[in-house]
Symmetry: D2
Subunit: 360 residues, 4 copies
């Protein structure tokens, strides 16, 4: 297989750095293009990122020496890479426009940004859940007169710990009616510098602006279906969310109460469905696909972010404490690594999916 | 008013120390008796507590010099005090028995222990909510042939941040049907040494053993009523709880989704009812009664444990983020200080209530 | 005594908020003037500080309603107050100039800023240590042609936990030769937003920019003497510092190894000198003076920030673990509250000193 | 090479679990024997460790199924393994005796316990520093009439971050005279349950019992020499230590001030010596040897535990902030992973050394 040249737009930020770290030694993708704000343009990446290299593993020389381009330089991107990971942080309208320009220039764009998440012909993908939504891509290209370029997005990090577990049940015929979920989210989800330490040492913050809204809306699209050339929302599932920031570096935990519509599976069946769930990324053995997308931890006090976030290189979701709910049917706890599965790692898996399906 | 001599059983533990700290300069109560495990018996309190004095304010001399008795020495208690605060940690059956012996010996017992919480003729009191349940005391005394002694208990710390707010609404005619609540609880709730730091630095633990069960059962009794010489549970309200331990020293936070039965108050009315709620302890100006039992914090990201737990000396509950719920009617966040309102402070208020009502 | 009208320049920042909180109910000082950056000018303080009120106790109405002026509006200050607390954050040169303008306009300025700390005719005061340095004020006024105005500064927060303890020994004739000190400093020392939580959860940072330099220089001035119309540095004491940031909200801890020059006091004498140390602020019973400026904690594992920082309302220094040093003479641990004794509280005590000495 | 059968005594504790985790897939060693306290004896390891498996990676089946023996069952050890890693926690005298019994039974014992650290014919080894001390082994065996068995120990975790860096300089002829060191130590150093969270959230503890004494004594033996059939202490280097516990999971940081005796190397040379330091474990390419035992991090605010502890699988020491010292010659910051390099990993490297030198 031919190596695919990858560009990262917004390369100096925390998500950009995560991409650089995770793509090291990727079997298909090679980073050949980096761009960031105009004040970084023209510098080497090492110089541009300066003291702000936040990752644990050191910056590798091949990437450190790349010259950083201006994020808005579409032409440079077009010449230097075959695929864009968008981690740019700008005003939402500007991001939407910039991503469209890349697509228009023939570049597939996989985006971490929320700008296009509600665009009707842009798929929002969790590869284990709705790989089939990628079929909207030819429609998107036709709608917009784009040739090889397109835009696909990954959803918000806060919902990842229970979307795949819920899908594993829905996929076996158990319809879900309602969900009340409370999240305990890691500080890395706010980027860097992000949450001031004075707000989180000996404290929790019971608000993450915009997060509850995303939590309640995005699943409707992910669980939706393609019809009449667009993705139709699934409005049958009602979700209410409480999103909290806690003093954890990485790993979002979710406490979920769920009510089924008609048939209610028993505990044993739910765990069986979770433990045996495999989907497109596993079937195709995509490089970033976890072997088991859902790990059930039987210990009574798990999952825990410190101990479970790195399961299968941070790409698996860990669930535990499945028990009946006094008010709905079941309660459980889900956990996923927010900067890997929930951000750069999840987006890389979307890109691998696109390659595997022939869209790249 | 005559000074009431107070004894603390289980004086060396963390709750015992909290009692000692909070009772300093109390206008009615004076500590005259301390007891603990047999290995402390005979020592001065200073010697018995040794390096384990965990409170921020120093141990005052008058208490430090008291000789510690054996917790099971009922006779010493009878001679040296008029009222027992029970903070003893033993096997549940043993605690129940010991508390009964004190009561039999003529001593009122206000207990932090869970041993008698489900005993049908023992009132479980949040003074702002069910002060009228104290009327079971003469029945209890009659049932058991006790003269002046009795047992009253305070409920678990995890429910305190929303019980009074819910009661303020129920009290104005709004019936509550269901509740899904997720708590983020402080490590001090587990006592000392309690939670190992390796379990909580950069982590959360999604389990507090026994806590969800208590959360679901205790409100039924507190919202119950006296009938046929016992407290009848209110089984109309359904509660489901997710209890988590987080890296906060003090202050339990609760994320609550609530569904009303018939009529649903509007946001404005709820806040109005909360801000204007006063009850028996306020009317009688009990020493430990907060001026406003419920404080509504209008800032979008409050309440927070670090900033709100000490409201009104840790005796007020702070609520915030009242907003509609996609699945039920409303969502809000409640916070209360677990070792003050939720433990020793709450029990002192129960004792004050008993004095005010003439039971002591 | 006539109430003194106080202005706070830089009122919206964290130190400004600390002043507002600490001055509540001050017997001599009343806040009548607030100023901040030009974007806050013209707004009420409540509006200007908006969601950034970081203190635990709520903002009181009298201050909340004050209109905020532009920090550079010297004329408004002159009209509205008799004394300036400078907590302004600007470029150093600008601060120096602005503080001089206030002084020129007749206003005494007590500053938290480091801009004038090395100015030779500006006293840098720890009231228990070098109250006599205030005598430079008439010289300063003469040098600069100022009438009633002057500038006095408080030193850096990192040195406060051992300066008074060392002075208590020096004051009794024990000369100090060398000091190696390692600090473990609270995140509040960096202001707000200050230290990103990603840098401090499960981590320490072994650098606080500029702090080691200040630690090594400022004591030379504080232990200096007035001669030839300026403060002459005491260059006899050599200090080497390692400054670290740790995940503590408030309270700077210092691990000190000290070598005496000639005579070495014994442990008993050192503790005796510390416990009995009183100085000008105690003699004059200044409102913010701690009763005992130095508290010796005999427990083997103290002082600790969580437990000792609030001693005597955060104005006392706590020391402990005095023991011999293998390399120098003694080792000990010091602790002081960095935002109270080390910042706003310390500056208020300097202002009280100035009032008591007739300079205000 | 023939596989060496390894036994872990004290297998259920935290250090024991670290051995099990680190030895997974070791090229030379295979775990064939586990022992623990008598209450675990007879159970499978999975059963014995129960909910107390504290490691992040799951317990592997081969080890989980091993039957746990009683720690004192020397005979079972002798039959089932060729080498003992001692991580047993008992009274010191008992540990010393037990380790001697294993050695007498013909088993080499590599110990984490401090019981034999000051025994004159027992080598205390940091393989990069004093591999030559292993020559005491034949003397030890002769002294005691042991055939193949012997005891070797690893030193305390708190000194590891600067011992190798200092040795790299001493090894090039720069004699060290004095050292004042302050450590900021991780909670995992206290084992499990270890430090209560109430002691470390928003706090530091300026005492680790026994740690300062070990810090001051152990380097004298490690830098000592073999003479007259025993290890003679090097008493030329004076060390004074301040040991603190901080809220970090793993990784001990040390702030070091050092004075040389005669010649003082310049900064450039020190860094050169550190970066190019290699020793016996590197020359022999021992499996657990880090490629570079000392990594110099040039960033101004490093090393940091969160970011640097895992360097070279936790076996490298990271140093940084080398700068001159006002009082001594140089200051620097050192960091090492306390449960890997400082405990189980360090001991495995000692065992590899022993194999490589033919003692096993």
């Amino acid at each position: 297989m031919k190596e695919i040249r990858v560009g990262i737009v917004g390369a100096t930020g925390m998500v950009g750095q995560n991409y650089i770290t995770l793509l090291r030694n990727h079997p298909w993708f090679k980073i050949t293009f980096l761009s960031a704000s105009s004040k970084s343009a023209g510098k080497s990446y090492r110089e541009a990122v300066d003291l702000r290299w936040l990752m644990k593993s050191p910056l590798e020389k091949q990437v450190a020496d790349l010259i950083v381009f201006d994020a808005e330089d579409v032409d440079a991107a077009r010449k230097n890479c075959d695929l864009i990971f968008s981690a740019v942080e700008m005003e939402k309208g500007k991001v939407a426009l910039l991503e469209e320009k890349f697509a228009e220039a023939g570049l597939p764009v996989i985006s971490n940004n929320s700008a296009h998440r509600s665009t009707k012909d842009v798929p929002m993908i969790i590869p284990e859940v709705n790989a089939d939504h990628m079929k909207i891509i030819p429609i998107q290209q036709k709608n917009r007169g784009w040739k090889n370029g397109f835009i696909a997005v990954k959803p918000n990090c806060s919902i990842q710990s229970y979307m795949t577990p819920l899908f594993a049940l829905m996929n076996s015929g158990y319809e879900i009616e309602k969900l009340i979920v409370t999240t305990l989210q890691a500080v890395s989800g706010a980027g860097y510098p992000g949450v001031p330490s004075l707000d989180i040492v000996d404290n929790i913050i019971p608000l993450i602006r915009g997060e509850e809204e995303k939590t309640e809306k995005e699943p409707m699209k992910i669980f939706g279906s393609i019809s009449e050339n667009q993705i139709i929302l699934n409005e049958k599932i009602k979700i209410s969310a409480h999103c909290n920031r806690v003093g954890v570096t990485d790993g979002h935990t979710a406490c979920v109460s769920v009510k089924f519509k008609n048939q209610v599976p028993d505990t044993r069946e739910i765990i069986h469905l979770w433990e045996n769930f495999k989907s497109y990324p596993q079937d195709k053995k995509l490089p970033f696909a976890p072997e088991h997308p859902i790990i059930y931890n039987y210990e009574e006090n798990r999952p825990q972010p410190l101990k479970d976030r790195d399961s299968d290189k941070g790409m698996a979701v860990t669930v535990g404490r499945l028990r009946s709910c006094n008010v709905f049917d079941y309660r459980f706890v889900g956990l996923s690594h927010n900067t890997i599965r929930g951000a750069a790692g999840g987006a890389i898996l979307v890109a691998e999916l696109a390659v595997s399906q022939g869209y790249i």
